[in-house]
Structures are given as structure tokens and as C-alpha cells.
């Protein structure tokens, strides 16, 4: 099996409010944590946030099961109200699962802002971590969905 696999995916969102306003929810720590905190049962071990070109954001958690998870990002390009580009890694139990380049673009439109999130990911596996992570989440059937998708599309 290849060591590194690459993929790209995008998510588009209509957001209520101007691009300038939407941007603040990425740029200001208190506002960003309003929507990035999603696991009330996880303990936050570290939470650094330096939103500037070259600045680092680093969050480390301990899950309810006692597994340590990390998200470490470096901001590469910031254009207020328009664009954010950052590189980041995610690890689970000490094994790096993926390293990505994320581009977030804000444009006027829709309910106020059209936000486009593009992630270019290098998937590293972290075999043990992955096994733990996806254990018991019905992965067998997820893979079946993959089979269907692959048969239908061939390429995505």
C-alpha cells in the first residue's frame, strides 16, 4: 500500500452576514471557538491561537477514552475579509493521520457570504490510530459505500 495518498475536497456554505463579518469568526479566537469546540466530553490540554501570517494555532485534546488528539496549523496567507490559507496536521494517539493545505475564500452572495473551503490532503494513515478511530463506527459498511461510489464514478 502506498505510504501517502492525496485527495482534495471542497465545501461551500452560505453564511448570514457580510464576508467581513464571517472573516471575524475565523480571525478572533473567542469567536472561532464558538464553532470549533464540538466535543464537550474532551479535555482541552492546550489551546494556542496566533492568527497572523506565519502564526500558529495548536489545539490538543484528550478524548473521553483517553486518546490524545492534536490539530496544529500554520497560517500562510491572510487577506482580511477575503481569504485564509493555512497548513495543518491532525494526529491521534501520537500518530499523524493527515497533513493538509486549507484555503478558505469569502465572497459576497447568497445570505450575505458564500464561503468556499478547499482542503488538499495528504493522508498518512497512522494505521493504529485509524483503527482505533474507526473501530465500531460501521466502517465495514462505509467501505461498501466506497465500493458503490467507485463502481459508479470510477473517479471522484
Amino acid at each position: 500500500m502506498s505510504e501517502v495518498q492525496h485527495t482534495t475536497f471542497t465545501i461551500e456554505r452560505d453564511l448570514p452576514g457580510s464576508p467581513r463579518h464571517a472573516f471575524r469568526f475565523w480571525a478572533e479566537k473567542a469567536l472561532k471557538r464558538r464553532w470549533t469546540d464540538c466535543h464537550p466530553d474532551w479535555t482541552v490540554l492546550e489551546d494556542r491561537f496566533d492568527f497572523s501570517p506565519g502564526g500558529e494555532e495548536a489545539v490538543r485534546w484528550r478524548t473521553a477514552e483517553g486518546i490524545e488528539q492534536t490539530f496544529t496549523a500554520r497560517y500562510l496567507d491572510i487577506v482580511a475579509g477575503r481569504r485564509i490559507i493555512y497548513a495543518f496536521e491532525m494526529s491521534s494517539a501520537g500518530a499523524r493521520v493527515s497533513a493538509s493545505l486549507a484555503t478558505v475564500e469569502f465572497r459576497p452572495g447568497g445570505m450575505g457570504t458564500k464561503m468556499l473551503y478547499t482542503e488538499q490532503m495528504a493522508f498518512l494513515g497512522g494505521a493504529e490510530a485509524m483503527r482505533m478511530r474507526i473501530a465500531g463506527t460501521g466502517t465495514g459498511f462505509d467501505r461498501l459505500a466506497d465500493v458503490v461510489a467507485m463502481d459508479g464514478a470510477g473517479v471522484h
Binding site: Q5, F9, G17, Y117, F123, T139, G140, D146
Partner: protein
């Protein structure tokens, strides 16, 4: 849309609880016919028959080395990445829902 035939074969392959058990086992890693027959409580010829259905359904692939036939989930190489990508997309979708809610709860007019 997708070709219906592979889907028919796929669902047929999954219509049996014994075969679904084999799929669950294979999603944790490749296994030989013998290793699959045991937990499924099947005799070897019966296990082989079920595995053939799964293989025709495109769910699994097999490889024979010497006298041993080993079965594995078919898109083995890409499946973990796809699973991870799906998990990431789901997490981001949920996060962006919360972002939209947070923005709606704090409209621009209310700022200092």
C-alpha cells in the same frame, strides 16, 4: 446515475447476515477462508460459496498464494483515506453549521 446491475449484485451480496459478518471481519483486515469460516460458524465449502457471492458483488477480492486463498475488502488501498475524508467532511459540515448559527446569533449590527 449509476449502473443498476453492480448495485443489484452488491445488495444481493449483503442480503445475508452471515456475509455481512464476513464483511465486518474483512473490514478489520484480510483473512483466509478458514479464518472467515470459523467466526461465521460455517463449513469451508459453505464459506467459500458466500465469499464468491461477495466477490461477484464487488465487495471483496481474493488472491491465492500457494494453497491458501486470502480475501480482502476490494478498494483496500483507498478505503481508509476515504473513511477519514468522509469523517473530516462530516466534522466540517457540523462545524460550519455552528458557524452559521454563531453568526446569526451575533449579527453585524450588534458589534460595538
Amino acid at each position: 446515475m449509476q449502473d443498476a446491475q453492480p448495485l443489484d449484485r452488491l445488495f444481493q451480496a449483503l442480503a445475508d447476515p452471515g456475509r455481512r459478518g464476513m464483511v465486518e471481519q474483512l473490514s478489520r483486515g484480510p483473512a483466509t477462508v478458514k479464518e472467515l469460516a470459523g467466526p461465521a460458524n460455517m463449513r469451508l465449502p459453505s464459506a467459500l460459496k458466500h465469499l464468491r457471492v461477495l466477490e461477484e458483488g464487488g465487495v471483496v477480492a481474493s488472491r491465492k498464494v500457494g494453497r491458501t486463498r486470502t480475501y480482502a475488502m476490494r478498494p483496500q488501498a483507498l478505503a481508509p483515506m476515504r473513511a477519514w475524508m468522509r469523517e473530516r467532511e462530516a466534522a466540517l459540515d457540523a462545524a460550519f453549521d455552528r458557524l452559521a448559527q454563531a453568526m446569526a446569533a451575533m449579527p453585524e449590527e450588534d458589534e460595538r
